[in-house]
């Protein structure tokens, strides 16, 4: 496999909503405004935590994620405010620091 060109500087960040099932990712940034962010934070959904989508609910409902071993359901609109990168890349970044 070819490595990504170095010009990308940092690994490509994606939104959690675009992550396929069973891919483990690390949260890097939360783009949720104000009050709405706290319910996420309290449940341990903070930058640095690992998230893994495990199941989509029927008829376009929320998606169930495994967050540090606990199942939490989030709507798509919330998941598209959570900026993540794959856990391998995240580990790489941590190593290089």
């Amino acid at each position: 496999m070819k490595r990504k060109p170095e010009t990308a500087q940092k690994p490509a960040d994606r939104m959690l909503a675009d992550v396929p099932l069973e891919e483990e990712v690390v949260l890097v940034r939360i783009d949720v405004a104000g009050d709405d962010v706290e319910p996420l934070l309290e449940r341990g959904i903070v930058p640095g935590c690992t998230l893994c989508p495990v199941r989509h609910a029927p008829v376009g409902g929320p998606t169930v994620y495994r967050v540090d071993g606990v199942l939490v359901a989030l709507r798509r609109e919330t998941a598209s405010c959570l900026c993540v990168r794959s856990s391998l890349e995240a580990a790489g970044v941590l190593d290089s620091n």
Binding site: V37, E42, G44, V54, H56
Partner: protein
């Protein structure tokens, strides 16, 4: 020695140490509280069950300890009314309460990493604290591990690892409570460092520091877990298989529908032998009393009034218990949280959030606790919208009315073999009408009076758990008590009063008048013009008036009216009497009326309390009455 001298709360023993049970939702606080106090707080397997503060006494050999069960919280910065209660109690700001002398912090051992995050602000209160890690059984079963003593060392307070469902494992908790009296070494105020303040005002500008605050808090929690040798339990295979089914895009909804169908079919089919038994027992006891009591006004009151009235309602106890049996299984198994996830899409369309779904589901038992549990809904407008529509969900008090009318007017025919018949289908139809009314009303409200943005949905899914026989039996027992108490109070009182009104004015010969000429009959005839367009006569009219107290009272009322009316010595048939009085159109009209109308004083009272005024309950009552009248009129007109 521990009394801080401030005013004790209602029902709180002044001298006894006051201990608050705190922790994240669904961690087993109420289970623990129940075991220690012997009370029966509601327990179920989804977050947000307890929404009020509840006191209980633990009687130890050294003296009593007052325990307070609290709503679950993830921190001390409340966003909803239930979380506010917890915060206020912990800070000693709850009206009439002093600050607790000690804290029992309940954390789920299988979720230790995220649950330790709440330890920080709670320990920072500086009160003597015992950390109770529940779910020790599940931790073991799924190969998780942790060193209790290391965690205790790291936190600087005692730590107990228990199975809150097993009283035998709760000894360390009792020891802690005892030490509050004797000053034992278990009681240590936590020495933990001052915790970074929660940013006061919230808003977009302040969001960033808050994220950092929690990121650091999580980091510390993880380090704590690591030094305590915490090994997260493996995900359970059964759990994953069950979720694969419950949340499957095709099978998920099918399972949901299947569950609903089985519940309703069993309410009719399975209940029959039980109901026949109850009915026979009531009839037999009535006949026996009739044969031993001499002819007198007392005999008439007892048989025509009380036995006919209260007895007609009692017959429905088996059906209500079957309903509650299923509710117990659904709530204790963890399926409810999945149902809320499936329903979130619909709720979102309506303008509500998935969280509102759990209170609405519990309204199938009774609207009163449902309206209270809507306290967990964070957005105030969403909360009002939720409690406004909750009474549309078919509560168990409607079941006797539905069951009586359906049995009398809908012939039982199989639709899908023995599993599903016409009567169950009509019953489901009535439930669906209620749901549709709730959805439409909520959508209307959220687009007019309660317009606002829709709040985010974050829902934790608890693991599936096998309901215990004990918890199901206690629920059924409690429900039976509630049912009997209502029958013994409201229904008994109403039937006695009604009977008295059927006895006057006395005829010239001194005997009771024909019922149409009695005071009751005359009152009924005043009501009749208003309900004639719906196809009801004065008897139903009286029933509708008395059912304002509580819905099932109409069954008792009709029992008394027909009971007085029938001259037979033998027990009369309420169904047969109704068939004389109503045709299919007016029977359906009556059903429709009960689907929509808000005939329940307890609901009105709790609405007033939870909304802080008469405005919402008044609007709700009028709106629902209007809908009921219009719906019944249409049903009577077209059938």
């Amino acid at each position: 020695m521990l009394d801080r001298g401030s005013a004790p709360g209602a029902g709180v023993d002044r001298g006894a140490p006051l201990v608050a049970v705190v922790g994240p939702p669904n961690s087993g606080k109420s289970t623990l509280f129940n075991h220690l106090t012997g009370l029966r707080q509601r327990v179920a397997n989804y977050p947000g069950v307890t929404v009020e503060r509840r006191c209980g006494t633990v009687n130890l050999p050294v003296g009593p300890v007052e325990l307070i069960d609290l709503p679950g919280v993830h921190g001390l910065s409340p966003r909803s009314l239930d979380q506010m209660v917890t915060r206020d109690v912990l800070l000693g700001e709850f009206e009439g309460d002093r600050q607790p002398d000690a804290i029992v912090l309940v954390l789920d051992a299988t979720r230790l990493k995220s649950h330790l995050m709440v330890a920080e602000p709670v320990l920072a209160l500086g009160l003597p604290t015992l950390v109770v890690l529940t779910m020790a059984d599940e931790l073991n079963r799924r190969y998780g591990a942790l060193r209790r003593s290391s965690l205790s060392e790291e936190l600087g307070v005692e730590v107990a690892l228990v199975n809150a469902r097993d009283a035998a494992t709760l000894q360390p908790v009792r020891a802690f409570l005892k030490a509050l009296h004797t000053g034992g070494e278990e009681v240590r105020a936590c020495p933990i460092v001052a915790v970074a303040e929660h940013p006061e005002g919230r808003g977009a500008g302040r969001a960033l520091p808050m994220i950092d605050l929690f990121a650091e808090r999580r980091q510390r929690a993880r380090e704590l877990g690591r030094s305590a040798g915490f090994q997260a339990p493996r995900p359970s295979r059964t759990n994953e298989r069950l979720d694969a089914l419950a949340l499957h895009r095709f099978w998920g909804p099918v399972v949901f529908a299947g569950v609903v169908a089985v519940v309703f079919q069993s309410i009719f089919a399975w209940a029959v032998p039980l109901m026949d038994g109850t009915e026979a027992a009531i009839a037999a006891s009535g006949n026996y009393l009739g044969s031993v009591l001499p002819e007198s006004w007392f005999r008439s009151l007892l048989l025509d009034g009380v036995w006919a009235g209260v007895g007609s309602v009692m017959v429905f106890l088996p059906q209500i218990l079957i309903l509650f049996f299923f509710i117990a299984i659904l709530e204790d198994s963890g399926y409810m949280a999945r149902a809320a996830v499936i329903a979130d899409r619909l709720m979102h369309r309506v303008g509500l959030q998935g969280k509102s779904f759990l209170p609405l589901l519990s309204a199938y038992a009774c609207a009163v606790p449902a309206i209270m549990s809507a306290r967990t809904v964070e957005d105030e407008r969403d909360r009002i919208a939720t409690i406004f529509v909750a009474p549309f969900m078919t509560c168990s008090a409607r079941l006797p009315v539905y069951a009586l009318l359906i049995a009398a007017f809908i012939p039982a025919q199989p639709i899908l073999g023995p599993f599903f018949g016409t009567q169950a289908a009509v019953l489901i139809g009535l439930y669906v009408m209620g749901v549709v009314a709730a959805i439409v009303t909520a959508a209307l409200l959220k687009r007019t009076l309660l317009r606002g943005r829709s709040a985010p949905f974050v829902m934790e899914l608890p693991p599936y758990r096998l309901p215990t026989v004990r918890s199901i039996l206690t629920r059924l027992l409690d429900r039976t008590k509630v049912f009997l108490r209502r029958a013994g109070k409201i229904i008994l009182a109403v039937t006695v009063v009604l009977w008295v009104f059927t006895q006057f004015p006395r005829m010239p010969g001194g005997e009771a008048p024909p019922i149409g000429d009695s005071a009751l009959g005359q009152a009924g005839q005043v009501i009749e013009p208003a309900i004639e367009p719906l196809g009801f006569d004065w008897r139903i009219g009286i029933g509708l008036v008395t059912s304002l107290a509580a819905r099932e009272v109409i069954v008792g009322t009709l029992g008394t009216i027909y009971g007085v009316e029938s001259d037979d010595e033998e027990a009369f048939e309420l169904q047969a009497a109704l068939q004389q009085d109503l045709d299919l159109g007016s029977a359906v009209a009556l059903l429709v009326f009960f689907v929509f109308a808000l005939q329940c004083m307890s609901t009105v009272a709790i609405m007033r309390r939870e909304t802080g005024g008469w405005r919402w309950p008044a609007l709700q009552f009028c709106y629902m009455l209007l809908l009921a009248y219009a719906g019944a009129w249409v049903a009577n007109a077209i059938l």
